[in-house]
C-alpha cells in the first residue's frame, strides 16, 4: 500500500533548499575567512590576524577610492531618487497620456541594456564631447542607471496606496500641494527610502560602467579592487572585499526591514 503523501509534496526539497543556501553563502564565507589570514598568500593559511584590515585601512589609495565611492553613491542616490520620485508620481497619478508606455520603457532601459554596452556607449560620449568633470562623469553615469532602481519601489508604493486617502484630503479642503505635502509624501516616504537604499547599493557596487568612464583620480572601491585582483591577490583584497560586502548586506537588510514593516502596516 502506498504511503500517505501530502498533495504536491516533493521529497528532498528541503535538503535541496538548504544545499542551495550553502552554495550561495559558502563562497562568501570562504572569502571572509581568508581575510583573517595573517600570511601574505591568500590561499595558504598562516594563522588568524587582523593585519590585512589594518593594512587596508592605512592604504591611502583605498581610502581615496572608498571616499570616491561614498561621494558618488551619495550624490547619485540623492539625484536619482528625486528624479525617480517625480517620474513615479507622473506615472501613477498623472492619468493616461500619450507616450506613457514609451516613457516607462525609457526609464527601464538601463535595466535591459547589458552593462558593458552602457559602459562603452557612455565612454564614447564622454570621450567624444571631451566632457571631463572628473568624479562628475562617474556621478552622471551612476545617476543614469540608478534611476530605474529608485523608481521601482517608489512606483510600487504609489500603486499600492489607497487613492481614497488623497480624495479624502481634497474633500477636506486640501489643495493639491497640501494633499501632496501632508498625505501623499508621508505615506510615500518608506518607498522613497527603499528606492534610495537600492540605488545606493547599486551605485556602491557598480564596477563595469565606472571602470569605463572613470578617469585617473576618480577610481571607486570596486574598480580599485579589480586592479588589486589583476595585480595578484593578497588577503588585503579579501579584507577590502569583506568590508564592501558588509556595507551592502547592511543596506539591503535595512531595505528589507523598511519594506517588510510597510507590508505589515498595510496588512
Amino acid at each position: 500500500m502506498p504511503e500517505f503523501r501530502n498533495v504536491g509534496e516533493v521529497r528532498g526539497l528541503r535538503s535541496a533548499a538548504f544545499g542551495f543556501m550553502v552554495f550561495l553563502y559558502l563562497p562568501i564565507a570562504i572569502l571572509i575567512l581568508y581575510s583573517f589570514n595573517s600570511g601574505s598568500l591568500v590561499m595558504v593559511w598562516s594563522g588568524f590576524g587582523l593585519n590585512w584590515y589594518a593594512k587596508a585601512f592605512a592604504n591611502a589609495d583605498i581610502q581615496r577610492a572608498a571616499l570616491n565611492s561614498l561621494i558618488v553613491a551619495t550624490v547619485a542616490t540623492a539625484l536619482a531618487t528625486v528624479i525617480a520620485t517625480l517620474a513615479a508620481l507622473v506615472m501613477t497619478r498623472g492619468g493616461p497620456f500619450r507616450g506613457r508606455g514609451a516613457s516607462l520603457a525609457m526609464i527601464s532601459l538601463p535595466l535591459m541594456v547589458p552593462e558593458i554596452v552602457t559602459a562603452v556607449a557612455m565612454l564614447i560620449v564622454f570621450a567624444g564631447t571631451g566632457l571631463s568633470l572628473g568624479l562628475g562623469n562617474v556621478i552622471i553615469a551612476h545617476v543614469t542607471f540608478c534611476i530605474p532602481f529608485a523608481f521601482m519601489p517608489i512606483r510600487a508604493r504609489l500603486e499600492g496606496m489607497d487613492t481614497t486617502l488623497e480624495q479624502a484630503s481634497a474633500d477636506l479642503y486640501g489643495s493639491d500641494w497640501a494633499t501632496f505635502r501632508y498625505v501623499t509624501l508621508p505615506i510615500l516616504m518608506p518607498g522613497i527610502l527603499a528606492g534610495a537604499m537600492l540605488s545606493f547599493v547599486i551605485s556602491l557596487d557598480d564596477f563595469i560602467i565606472t571602470m569605463m568612464v572613470a578617469g585617473a583620480g576618480s577610481t571607486t572601491l570596486p574598480v580599485y579592487i579589480y586592479s588589486m585582483i589583476r595585480q595578484g591577490v593578497t588577503p588585503e583584497v579579501n579584507a577590502v572585499s569583506s568590508l564592501l560586502l558588509l556595507a551592502s548586506v547592511l543596506l539591503v537588510t535595512l531595505y528589507w526591514l523598511v519594506t517588510r514593516n510597510r507590508d505589515a502596516a498595510t496588512a
Binding site: L13, F20, L24, M106, P110, T118, M122, V125, I225, V252
Partner: protein, 305 residues
C-alpha cells in the same frame, strides 16, 4: 506651486523631464552614437575616422590577407557562439536549480517565505566582482577545492586540477551571479498559484509528476520565461566572469567589447560587437513582449466574463 504648472499636461512634462532627459542624453543618445560608430572607419591610433565603412561587421567573419583579399576566419564567430552557448547553458542550469527552490519557498508558511527570499536576494545585491573573486579562491590553484587533494597527497605541489580558466569556471560564475533573478520571478508566479488547483489535480488522479507537468509548470510559465530572460541577457553580455574566471583567454561578447575599447582601441569594431550583443537582447525582449501579449490576450478574455 507655480500657477502655470497647474495644467496637468505641463505638470506631467515637468515631472518626467529630468528622468527622460538623463536617460535619453546619457543612455539612448550614446547607444545611437555607438551604432553610428560601428559604421565608421577605425583610427589606428584609437578613436574613429569620419568615413563610412562596413569594415567592422566584415571583420566578424573575414580578415584581410597581405594582398587585401578577404579570408574567412572563425575566431569572432566562435566567440559569439561560445557566448550564446555558455549563456544558454547557464540559463538552463539556473532554471533546473532555481525552479525547485522557488517551489519549495512558495510552499513554506508565509512568515518563513520572506526570510528565504531575503536570504536569496542578499547575494544578488552584493558586489558581483567580489563574489566572482570568491570563486577564484575556491577554484584556483591551491584553492579550496584542491586543498583536500593536496592534503591527501593525490595532488603534488606542482599539480593542479585545472578548474580555473575554463568554460566550467565561467558557467559556475554566471550561475552564482544570476541565479537569484531566476528564483524570484518563478517564486512570484508560484506564490500566486492557487494551491487548490494542485489539490484538484491530485483529486483527479494525477501523480505529483503529472501535476507538475500539466498544472504547476504551465501556470508558472510567465515566471519561468521572465526569469530565463533576466538571466540570459546579463549572461550573454557578461564581462566579469569571463575576465576573471576565464582568465581573459575564453572571451565572450562582453569581454570582447571591453577588449576592443580598452586594449585594442578599435572603436568601430568594439561598437559593432556591442551592437550585435544589443541585437540579441532586443530579440529576447521582442520574444518576451510577444509571449506576454499572448498571455495578456488570454487573461484579457477574463475581463469579458
Amino acid at each position: 506651486m507655480i500657477a502655470s504648472a497647474q495644467t496637468p499636461a505641463l505638470r506631467r512634462f515637468l515631472g518626467l523631464l529630468p528622468a527622460l532627459a538623463v536617460i535619453g542624453l546619457f543612455m539612448l543618445v550614446p547607444v545611437a552614437i555607438m551604432a553610428l560608430y560601428s559604421f565608421l572607419e577605425a583610427n589606428p591610433f584609437g578613436g574613429i575616422v569620419w568615413r563610412f565603412s562596413p569594415e567592422a561587421y566584415v571583420q566578424f567573419l573575414f580578415e584581410r590577407d597581405l594582398a587585401d583579399n578577404l579570408v574567412f576566419q572563425s575566431g569572432y564567430l566562435i566567440i559569439i557562439l561560445r557566448s550564446l552557448g555558455l549563456a544558454v547553458l547557464a540559463t538552463i542550469l539556473c532554471l533546473i536549480v532555481g525552479f525547485p527552490i522557488a517551489y519549495f519557498i512558495a510552499r513554506q508558511p508565509a512568515r518563513h517565505r520572506n526570510i528565504w527570499i531575503y536570504l536569496i536576494t542578499i547575494p544578488f545585491w552584493t558586489n558581483q566582482l567580489v563574489r566572482t573573486f570568491a570563486w577564484i579562491i575556491i577554484l584556483g590553484r591551491n584553492g579550496t577545492i584542491e586543498l583536500p587533494f593536496r592534503w591527501l597527497g593525490i595532488l603534488g605541489a606542482d599539480d593542479t586540477l585545472g578548474l580555473m580558466y575554463t568554460d566550467f569556471a565561467i558557467v559556475i560564475g554566471l550561475i552564482y551571479a544570476f541565479i537569484p533573478i531566476m528564483v524570484l520571478p518563478i517564486y512570484a508566479s508560484l506564490e500566486k498559484l492557487d494551491f487548490r488547483l494542485v489539490e484538484a489535480s491530485a483529486d483527479l488522479y494525477s501523480s505529483t509528476f503529472e501535476t507538475f507537468r500539466r498544472v504547476i509548470i504551465p501556470l508558472a510559465k510567465p515566471g519561468i520565461v521572465a526569469g530565463s530572460i533576466l538571466v540570459f541577457i546579463p549572461c550573454l553580455g557578461a564581462f566579469i566572469q569571463p575576465d576573471l574566471l576565464g582568465g581573459g583567454k575564453k572571451l565572450m561578447l562582453g569581454s570582447l567589447v571591453q577588449f576592443q575599447f580598452a586594449t585594442a582601441r578599435n572603436w568601430p569594431f568594439g561598437a559593432a560587437v556591442a551592437m550585435i550583443l544589443l541585437a540579441f537582447v532586443v530579440l529576447c525582449l521582442l520574444w518576451y513582449a510577444q509571449a506576454a501579449r499572448r498571455a495578456g490576450a488570454q487573461s484579457g478574455a477574463l475581463a469579458h466574463a
